[in-house]
Symmetry: none
Subunit: 118 residues, 2 copies
Amino acid sequence: MTQALTINEAAATTGWSARMLRYVEQAGLVAPARSASGYRLFGPGELQRLRTLKELLSQFEVSLSEVAFAARLERDGQLREAISAWLAAEAERPAEVRADDWLRFEQDKHERLLAAAA
Amino acid sequence: MTQALTINEAAATTGWSARMLRYVEQAGLVAPARSASGYRLFGPGELQRLRTLKELLSQFEVSLSEVAFAARLERDGQLREAISAWLAAEAERPAEVRADDWLRFEQDKHERLLAAAA
DNA sequence: CAAACATTGACACGGTTGTGGTAAGGTTGG
DNA sequence: CCAACCTTACCACAACCGTGTCAATGTTTG
């Protein structure tokens, strides 16, 4: 029932190159089984996963290493907590930083630059 | 009046270089206010944030861009969902793929592929 | 056995990250 | 006014990411 493909076959049906399949594995995003002699064996689940991953990357403009980092985040709760806490502190942005100032500055700068160029 | 530091002062008290403070800002991880003439003004909160960030990076061996990505994840729920879903599917690794089966699969494989290609 | 395919390891190469510089020019303050 | 500071915009450079390719070597199979 469950058929497993070797790397080039998997490459053919997933759109990844064989090289990239090895790379993706090294990134820890898939873990194909191995035959007794060391050949990678991609099962249907893995193949689907690889196709989905490809879609994920292109649809969201996300990189492989970013997905790998997300995986690390899910694994390491401590890290997730630390980062999450740090980011939360960011949201607490004191309102005294008036956005208007910045805009005004940008406008002013533009005028200054234009004046300088003239 | 407002005890806000300019970039080199901020660099001195946070341990970042002025260059890196600009870089970190560009990465979207801090947003110092600006004086009317465009000088960055780092308030106490920002300074603390910068120190904490430095600690975060070294303690967890995390890169600046990874933290930036985490920020993106928090901002973009859709992306977070998509990645989270993909990762969840990974955990669902059926152990039914047993070593004994490989032999048989290897034998069947060729026939299946040939049949499929025909 | 020989052809076809797999494995690891390495070289290569353009693109990004992290970091330091330098230059050209505005701002500040004594 | 002048020195010291700030700004942006570049050049540089090592280290890594994503990819291809090639070599040396083991495996499967007609």
